[in-house]
Symmetry: C2
Subunit: 350 residues, 2 copies
Amino acid sequence: MSVFAVVMAGGSGTRFWPLSRRALPKQLLALGGDTHESLIRATVRRIAPIVPPERVLVVTAASLAARVRQELPEVPAQNVLAEPAARNTAPCVGWAAQVAKARDPEAVLAVLAADHYVKDEDAYRTAVRRALAVAEDGTLVTIGITPTRAETGYGYLELGEELSPGVRRVARFVEKPDVARASAMVADGKHLWNSGTFFFRADAVLAEIAAHLPALADGLAAIALEPARLGEIFGALPRVSLDVGVMEKAARIAVLPGDFGWSDVGSFATAWELSAKDTTQNAVPPDAVIVDSKRCLVRTTPGKIVALIGVEDLVVIDTDDALLVVPRDRAQDVRAVVDALTARGSEEKL
Amino acid sequence: MSVFAVVMAGGSGTRFWPLSRRALPKQLLALGGDTHESLIRATVRRIAPIVPPERVLVVTAASLAARVRQELPEVPAQNVLAEPAARNTAPCVGWAAQVAKARDPEAVLAVLAADHYVKDEDAYRTAVRRALAVAEDGTLVTIGITPTRAETGYGYLELGEELSPGVRRVARFVEKPDVARASAMVADGKHLWNSGTFFFRADAVLAEIAAHLPALADGLAAIALEPARLGEIFGALPRVSLDVGVMEKAARIAVLPGDFGWSDVGSFATAWELSAKDTTQNAVPPDAVIVDSKRCLVRTTPGKIVALIGVEDLVVIDTDDALLVVPRDRAQDVRAVVDALTARGSEEKL
């Protein structure tokens, strides 16, 4: 039995414009505190003590494959699976499971997002090792994050009965809640954040796909038979997430609690939280001139000097061809700018 | 009798950093509403119907002379007088008066700042023509600006008795006042803003210099005798302003009121006021993406797109090598950044 990591790197997030672009989405940016290491590099490095690069499969958009291979030179080029079309996560994971199973019929998968942040990597790996051990018998496993606030930006997992010491059944998947519902779930101690991180044997998840998503199972079988027709077949696969298409329908999902400083790095506000900050809580270039300014996030291009006077809680993102200014508490609205640029056809800025 | 314009262009203002630099001070920037015409070009163009370019004398720092000549190609190169050292405005005007008098012993001078803004140029020229007419008999004349607000950033002129219809004596020069004093002066109708704009015969101002600043008169005489020793002699001239050294000491200064939308363009806050603005009062590049943002001034480099979300009354100045963010009401504090950069020896950013 060998463990494969499946790194899902198909995202095209718009909340980090102008740092993120269609050709350089969030997972390729250094947003997790370290201003040099991209989120996807951190993902692969973090799991490396458990999964060596030759068993890391990265599933990404065809348009990003070359850039992803460049970013992860230690991962064999053929391990970067280029999706001919974006079909959400169920086809992505199904395809990777099929590839892994072909290499090792006993393969166990750790399905990881390419664009999340983990603060305590030792605690993370301890949780991953426990989840993989639980998955060995064919159980579908997820890690739920112990909530630290009434976050409305995440989905939640409701805990069911104990399956083994420290392992509970997922009673229910809960969509992103409103504030009242989020507060109640954090208070009752029966809910964890859904981190979107999954562990299962390749044959186990493929069996669940066959049971709940037969069209996807047929498509995957067709791809195995006629790999040359990948583009045509993949584009016709059902567009469905692993959560909705498989996990919520499976009879038994096990969940282990995780508490390792996890974040999905949802916006520039989160990037500020994760960044190294000076005594005035500014995350700015080291040579910045700061006058009466607090709690700002500033990114600019090398060699450029930043000066802030009398501003607080502001995000300023400066790239070669774009400049964004937004208060931290409106960082979610960055997508409105992307929408506006899309509407006016400013392709070169997207 | 011919009229010469003396354009004082020695300023090295720091309140427009990072647009302004030692090598590109305020007068060379387009800050007067039109984003293409520099303040010094506007100064020369504005006076052109009265003073042709061949009688425009520009006094500037030696380090700026080449750039000024490039900016004003219609002005003969030898009319750009390069000061070997900065000695304030009395030596500057004395030297220019001497140069003008050598060309025409009857010369009348219009002494103008290179970095001011005028909205109503016809009204301006009407006032200038009237002032020049008054100056013909040897009177020292200034134009005082009818105040429109209790401005504490300007000096004031207290009006004395009437010398001729519409022409008053300057009873007193008033330094920049506090708010209470400024309000009182605006209310009493007996005060005008000191625009630093002067009109006098070259021989008249040189006679006043001889009377009140004999060391300067001696220095100017020495320069006329030995032009090759300009650098040495000029550097030893007394450092004194025309206001303090001559105008405040002269027996009789006449003042004419002017009301033509004048500004000394003192900070980015003023630059915003003078700029063309959209319906949300933003002065931003025409292709900017504006979401819930008002009353901002943004300057950036060509080809770069600006996006503002949820910000108000903010100044954002983006150049190739520097980025400044400051609320409009703190625009005066930009010099603190220049001080900080000077203190750390960042010469290339100054």
